[in-house]
Symmetry: C2
Subunit: 421 residues, 2 copies
């Protein structure tokens, strides 16, 4: 195509890790970039569980997108919700009917938690993908202890102090560890009528082991560490029903006022917008350049993409992968404009990290596997390093040091309603 | 009365400055203290406007009450909403029907913003008393700039960039200064289609001067400082109507999507609970010991009390006054238990402080009056000093230094809905 008359317009949907890295790569190019997100901030999702468990504040892990791109003059940042993509006219439509024509489109709208057809479970068992999810879960956890403190009925008090986490992936493991630590350290001396350390934290996983994407020895280590911390781990257990007040695992009913859903994610509705059929998790198939199979103007990156990797596996849904994909899509756009064929995307897997609790984590660098304190230090350093924004790094480091030294949670505010669902 | 058989029960309603200081004073006494608040945290209200204007996070100015009293073993902290006070049975009733008998009751439930019979204005013009108010106002301010960025209609864009603050007391002055600074520093380089510094900030005061409780020269200084910063100050102007989209001042209509109410407060419904008649602002008359005139078991302190001071004036509704009253009520309770007559309450007025903007404030210490930079440094030091919790002090200082050095606001998150009312 001939771009001599006007600058090519690149529209990026979503300012997660993928969208942000694409926009950054296009910063100095001779293109017009429009970056659209439904929020005005980028969230550092790997630390969202620390907002949900009252260690960090929302602002500690979020930065205004606009502010990030203030000096990148070719980039327009917009707040908006995508309603559809008109591929024939090459336009993105927002839900307020604004339309944005594109020459290239990068779809990076991420994933959300999935209930596998049981969306009616969501009110009872919220998932953890957005800042609002995190403050809602924080509200429920803290409120459960508050209500337990004044509950006279033994049974009801027990249900208030039962916390069920559905799903044994990294989020489930992190939440289980953080809740038991909250109960046994920060809260333990604050109550008069209950013993917060008697709280029961149940981690329920449908598969045979925790952290299924990690090597088996690290899965086993995560399990024994959680058991030692006091978490009950149930493997090969499928939750068959969730309702306010408890879960069912086959015949067994477990009364619990706080249920957290960490059992699965599905891609954003990008497949629907694009008029293609997604895979089982809603992801959109892309070619070796992360383009739609039949539309070279459209790239799909991050958790929304089903991008081939190695041995028939897909590129995993983790932050570094999304970053690499966003960066690649931007490079491919620039190559196409310049009339060059882009080199195919090649994912460099740097490893998997998951924290289990204070002073323990697992790190899988392929040949090198670490667990325990050293892994935890690497986990902490990596997260501080990748946190966007100098201010956030300093503040998060200080909050962690404070929490570590004093064993007090940092941010134990119940905002919003003080009624439990 | 004879307390030899059982420990006297002191119930404190409200964990603001008054309630907190009463509870602290009773900490080592041989009494049972029950401290009830509708939130699980104490808010440092003097800095609430900085949450509303995106400099600080909610957690920076709030501390969990329970955590504050964790080592004070005679004190029970409870989350609950007061429904009524049964003076005959000496019981406080909560809205979930829990009942708390008292031997002494200290009512410290503060004040809320008042619309002088026009409560229907509240959705259009929220006030600033609670954390939720602050995040709602922050949401509206930031969203107004976002919506303006994509608004094509000149008139509607202008209304999005108009900010009207009703009321020229300390809160109004602080909000006006902080909003114009947000527009002219932190936001100024972030937008492509609008010039945030063209935002119009209007401060409307019904009386003849700003900061009516300060000496006239400081009021005049506040006005000229705000004018120099770009705020439009309207004195002797009464807002006759508020609605989503604008205010009316007599015949004049000013279109504005963001209206903030700082025009007045009224006491909490304590008068109703107690079955007495409050004054015009709903405050409860108390004797020289801050007791109800006809009930020596009940103390009323802080913004809820109409406590006589000097020259026919009442003790002012400021944090240090509430603290002193709470402390006095606790001492009077202990004196009564010991069979002593308490010394009457004598308010020590240490001064008035109000900040106008970055690097400017006014301080009225009576004989000594300061304005400008020195006053601002004193204001900052005083607020850091009185912030509860070592962690909060450090974090707030860091946030301020960051904002000061970089001219970027710290916490520009739009949480909740991204629709304007």
């Amino acid at each position: 195509m001939n771009f001599r008359e006007k600058r090519p317009r690149v529209v990026i949907l979503g300012a997660g890790f993928g969208g942000l890295s694409a926009a950054t790569r296009l910063g100095r190019a001779d293109v017009d970039v429009t970056l659209i997100d439904r929020q005005n901030y980028h969230v550092f999702q790997p630390l969202l569980y620390q907002v949900a468990t009252a260690t960090l504040s929302p602002a500690d892990i979020a930065v205004p997108i606009r502010s990030t791109f203030r000096d990148q003059k070719n980039t327009n940042v917009l707040l908006g919700n995508v309603a559809g993509i008109d591929r024939a006219r090459r336009e993105v439509t927002l839900d307020d009917d604004r339309r944005f024509p594109y020459d290239y489109l990068i779809v990076a709208t991420g994933a959300r938690h999935a209930y596998f057809g049981r969306d009616d479970w969501e009110p009872a068992a919220p998932g953890l993908k957005r800042i609002e999810d995190a403050t809602e879960i924080r509200r429920r956890i803290l409120l459960a202890f508050e209500k337990a403190e004044t509950e006279d009925d033994d049974e009801r008090r027990r249900e208030l102090l039962n916390f069920v986490i559905v799903g044994g992936g990294p989020t489930g493991v992190e939440m289980a560890g953080a809740i038991i630590e909250l109960a046994r350290t920060a809260l333990v001396r604050d109550f008069r009528h209950i013993d917060p350390s008697s709280a029961r934290v149940l981690l329920v996983e449908a598969g045979p082991r925790l952290l299924p994407t990690f090597p088996e020895d690290l899965s086993a280590f995560a399990r024994t560490t959680l058991l030692r911390m006091g978490v009950e781990v149930r493997l090969d257990c499928r939750v068959t029903h969730c309702a306010p007040g408890g879960v069912e695992i086959g015949e067994e009913r477990i009364g619990a006022r706080t249920i957290i859903w960490a059992a699965g994610v599905e891609a954003s509705p990008a497949a629907r917008w694009l008029g293609v059929t997604g895979d089982r998790a809603g992801r959109v198939a892309v070619d070796e350049n992360l383009r739609l199979i039949d539309d070279a103007r459209i790239f799909v990156v991050g958790d929304t993409a089903a991008a081939p990797w190695t041995k028939g596996r897909l590129v995993p849904g983790i932050a570094p992968a999304a970053k690499q994909m966003g960066d690649h899509a931007a490079r491919a756009v620039l190559a196409d404009i310049a009339g060059r064929a882009p080199a195919p995307f090649s994912y460099r897997h740097r490893g998997n990290l998951a924290t289990i609790g204070r002073k323990s984590a697992v790190v899988d660098f392929g040949p090198v596997r670490l667990k325990g304190l050293l892994a935890w230090l690497i986990w902490g350093a990596a997260h501080i390093y990748f946190l966007i924004g100098f201010r956030n790094r300093i503040i998060v480091m200080m909050q962690w040091m404070w929490a570590y030294v004093t064993l007090r949670g940092g941010v134990r505010l119940i905002t919003g309603s003080t009624k439990l669902p």
